[in-house]
């Protein structure tokens, strides 16, 4: 069931030239975790603030839990939306204790509220220090308090603005998993904003990609990665190699050799063959393969990147497993097992 629906949302800021959010429509299903991904200035945080009621769109409607909350010049004010939000800087109230912070949003009799607050704090892993003030906690603990405060009033949807950006790399993997578990345990619907594709791929059920205010694609991680709808989305998830190719009746001619492909006859002029480093394989034997010279092997621990260049010095990168040994730089063979064909220019 859809819990949140955005229709044709436009938003332009006072002094800005371009729209921050441009004709964006999408829905979020109950219990789902959606990641809004994009570069800075892509409109992802604006979108979050529009859903929260902290900004008002120029056009479009928003419905939450079956109620239209934004339409035309009217909207339900933020304090009546029952939307939970975790801010990037956490925005904990510095003059209130941890417990008081979490109690703030629970509109229940005092005793009942305290039980809920303590349970929520326990859920996020804070079993003590409830009487401390925010500045006495570490960054990671502060984030847990912010999460607890947001989910304690049992909101209809949880919004998180860059929840992982303030954490160091080692802590990040662990926190991502924990937050996912907490959200799934409460069954709450969540939307989070991030600029890091790794956050999105590992945490979200679905991912929406924004670019210059436009929604590019919204889908499950695997589909986005494997079947991007356009070059922007494809490049967003990592570097792709590019081969200029001339189409013939049954294949492509490239500077590394010939690739047999019946698709080629659809194209009249030069095309670009785009492939990810992991979508190619370096092989031993000569055959139906492309050929070039290995100019560099870079070791990354979990994998290696082999740089292969053609006769003119143009090179592509191919990923291999870290155990493979390349004794001598020099002649090498490789083939592509997956690539996208894009019109050149």
């Amino acid at each position: 069931m859809q819990i949140l629906t955005l229709k044709e949302i436009n938003k332009k800021y006072d002094q800005a030239k371009d729209f921050a959010v441009n004709k964006v429509s999408f829905s979020v299903n109950e219990g789902e975790i959606l990641a809004l991904v994009g570069e800075s200035g892509s409109g992802k945080t604006t979108l979050l603030r529009l859903i929260a009621g902290l900004e008002h769109p120029d056009q479009g409607t928003i419905a939450l839990g079956g109620q239209v909350i934004v339409e035309g010049k009217k909207s339900v004010p933020a304090h009546e939306r029952k939307v939970g939000m975790v801010f990037q800087d956490y925005a904990l109230f510095p003059h209130l204790t941890i417990l008081e912070n979490v109690l703030y949003g629970i509109s229940k009799p005092k005793k009942e509220a305290e039980v809920i607050a303590k349970e929520t704090l326990k859920l996020v892993g804070l079993t003590e220090d409830h009487g401390k003030y925010p500045h006495q906690l570490s960054g990671g603990q502060q984030q847990r308090v912010a999460l607890a405060r947001a989910i304690a009033p049992n909101p209809r949807i949880l919004l998180m603005d860059e929840p992982f950006s303030n954490l160091d790399a080692l802590l990040k993997d662990q926190v991502r998993e924990e937050i996912r578990q907490i959200i799934k345990m409460t069954g709450i619907t969540a939307i989070f904003v991030t600029h890091d594709t790794k956050d999105a791929l590992s945490t979200a059920d679905r991912i929406a990609i924004l670019h210059k205010g436009y929604l590019q694609q919204i889908d499950v991680p695997k589909n986005l990665y494997e079947n991007p709808v356009n070059p922007y989305v494809a490049n967003f998830f990592g570097k792709r190699n590019e081969l200029i190719a001339n189409p013939s009746e049954d294949g492509f001619y490239t500077s590394f050799g010939y690739i047999a492909d019946p698709e080629a006859k659809k194209y009249k002029s030069k095309v670009r063959l785009m492939f990810r480093p992991e979508h190619a394989e370096v092989v031993q034997r000569e055959g139906q393969q492309l050929t070039g010279n290995i100019v560099k092997v870079a070791y990354f621990g979990s994998h290696q990147l082999v740089k292969i260049s053609d006769e003119q010095g143009y090179s592509v990168s191919i990923r291999t497993n870290p155990g493979r040994v390349f004794d001598n730089l020099g002649n090498a063979f490789f083939y592509l097992w997956k690539y996208d064909i894009e019109e050149a220019f």
């Binding site: 008002h56 239209v68 909207s75 339900v76 004010p77 304090h79 925005a91 003059h95």
Partner: protein, 545 residues
């Protein structure tokens, strides 16, 4: 399925309150501006024929003289304390700000007393050296005298701002200049001074604003300026329209000054943007030079604060038994009460204005609310006139519509309400700026978080925003309190009949040849004024270090 009530997104009650406050606070200012296009009063031709040229000349000379002298005093001392190490340097950093606590009019008659026949200097010469002067030692009751008095009370503005600017200049910038072969003086004139120019001009602009506001000093010294002209037209000639016209011209003066200041500042940002700059290390010079520097700062401090301060103290010592009666205590109580109410009102209104701005989705609201702070640039006498016109009109309206002649009287004009209203218009900026800084410091996210947790804007203000900016609110009240306590021209025009504040009492006594007695009220004003100065200095130091 539309269960939840939707409202217009741009409206909340705070916007309504803010608009109401803005209209009320801006009314006096715009009244004056509109009157500029009305025809002047009966005595206008008399004024243009006989007085206007003199007003113009005196006001301009006063402005130029004070600008030059405050520049000299302020920049030299600021350069010394921020660049050199010498005995007492640390103390001069705040001692040289203390003159700000001296209202110009008190400084004026204190100096007249010091230089008088019975004053300490002549007495010393007469009794110890047996030299007798004829009349006053130096006649300072003239234009150069007024320039001197206003400069020694106002140079701390230039000192403060340029010191802060000198401290922000990076050490590497000066070192680069030295390495390129420039000496100390060349570095000062070619690098440090030009970089500080926007700050210095801003300081001088502040001082100039105070010069245009001054009534006590020029009145006491018999120098006719626009401000005294307004008083003369209002009180002596009873010609309100002419007073308004003069006030309007003076306001044009002020806006011109503000405009020039903003033009010179332009887009230039001389401060270091990379944030890596280290504060300039102070230079150790030969002990001979050190004593010269200490001497320069000491003399300026003695002349601008310590001498007149001690003079006041000694007068208080002589007269307190006579002056400090129950009536005087009542006067203190009432003055403090009035100033405290004004301070609270200003801060309360500032909070409403700024909270509306905080919640508003529109950027232009910011420039609109700024209108409320215009009063600080406008001389007190002008504001007094601007407050008087609408209140008199209101009284007349009430009289015409509701009442018979028998019960007629003053309802708003000529009451404490008028005075309070004028204080609010004049000192809005003094409370507004700290509150604005306070809100900025805590950021908008705590407010948004509270509202998303279901708290209405009013509850959010009460539970989150206000507790977080408590200290700023207090300092806002304090700053307005002190300004109101020493305010003179506006109070003289708008006070209810026979009503006295410490400031008017001191001024009245001094002009009635009771200088020594007036020192009691003056000393209270000055001592109260020193408190926020020390606060201010701490704030600047914290920002710099």
């Amino acid at each position: 399925m539309d269960l939840v009530k939707r409202k217009f997104y741009w409206w909340n009650k705070w916007i309504g309150y803010a608009l109401l406050i803005l209209v009320i606070v801006a009314t006096p200012i715009f009244t004056i501006l509109f009157k500029l296009f009305a025809s002047p009063g009966d005595s206008w031709s008399h004024i243009t024929n006989n007085l206007l040229a003199g007003y113009f000349q005196n006001t301009l000379l006063l402005l130029l003289g004070v600008a030059a002298l405050t520049f000299l005093l302020g920049v030299s001392t600021a350069w010394l304390v921020s660049n050199y190490e010498f005995p007492g340097r640390k103390y001069f950093e705040w001692l040289l700000i203390l003159p700000l606590g001296f209202p110009g009019y008190i400084m004026a008659y204190t100096y007249v007393g010091i230089l008088d026949y019975t004053g300490p200097i002549q007495t010393f010469f007469r009794n110890t050296l047996e030299i007798t002067f004829k009349g006053s030692l130096i006649d300072i009751m003239n234009l150069p005298g007024a320039i001197f008095i206003l400069s020694i009370t106002l140079f701390p503005y230039v000192f403060l701002i340029s010191r802060s600017s000198f401290l922000q200049q990076s050490k590497t910038m000066q070192e680069a200049s030295f390495l390129l072969g420039a000496g100390r003086s060349k570095t000062f004139f070619k690098i440090a001074l030009p970089m500080t120019r926007p700050a210095i001009v801003a300081g001088i602009a502040l001082a100039s604003m105070e010069v245009l506001n001054d009534y006590g000093t020029v009145k006491y010294f018999g120098v006719n300026t626009f401000t005294t002209g307004i008083f003369r037209a209002w009180f002596s000639m009873g010609d309100a329209t002419t007073a308004i016209y003069l006030a309007a011209i003076l306001m044009v003066f002020v806006f011109l000054l503000l405009y020039l200041e903003s033009v010179q500042r332009g887009n230039r940002r001389y401060s270091n943007v990379n944030g890596l700059s280290k504060p300039t290390a102070r230079i150790k010079v030969s002990s001979g030079k050190q004593y010269v520097y200490t001497a320069i700062c000491s003399i300026i401090f003695l002349v601008s604060f310590l001498f007149p301060f001690l003079q006041l103290v000694s007068w208080v010592w002589l007269t307190y038994a006579k002056v400090m009666d129950a009536q005087f205590l009542l006067l203190i109580y009432r003055s403090f009460g009035l100033a405290a109410i004004a301070g609270l009102a200003v801060v309360l209104l500032s909070v409403v204005l700024l909270y509306a701005l905080r919640l508003s989705p529109f950027k232009w609201v910011k420039s609109v609310t700024k209108v409320a702070t215009l009063g600080y640039a406008i001389p007190g006498a002008v504001i007094a006139v601007g407050v008087m016109i609408p209140l008199l009109a209101f009284d007349k309206w009430i009289y015409d519509t509701l009442l018979t002649a028998r019960t007629a009287g003053l309802f708003l004009s000529g009451t404490l309400f008028a005075l309070l209203f004028a204080y609010i218009v004049r000192f809005m900026a003094v409370g507004y700026n700290p509150v604005e800084a306070g809100f900025q410091k805590i950021g908008i996210h705590v407010n948004e978080a509270s509202r998303l947790l279901g708290a209405r804007s009013t509850k959010t203000l009460r539970k989150i925003d206000l507790p977080l900016i408590k200290n700023t609110l207090l300092s806002g009240v304090l700053l307005v309190f002190v300004d109101v306590l020493k305010e003179l021209p506006l109070t003289l025009i708008l006070r209810p009949f026979n009503y006295q504040t410490l400031a008017t009492k001191a001024f009245d006594m001094a002009t009635n040849e009771m200088i020594a007695e007036s020192a009691n009220a003056a000393l209270i004003i000055i001592l109260t004024g020193i408190i926020p100065i020390i606060f201010l200095n701490r704030m600047i130091r914290k920002r710099d270090l």
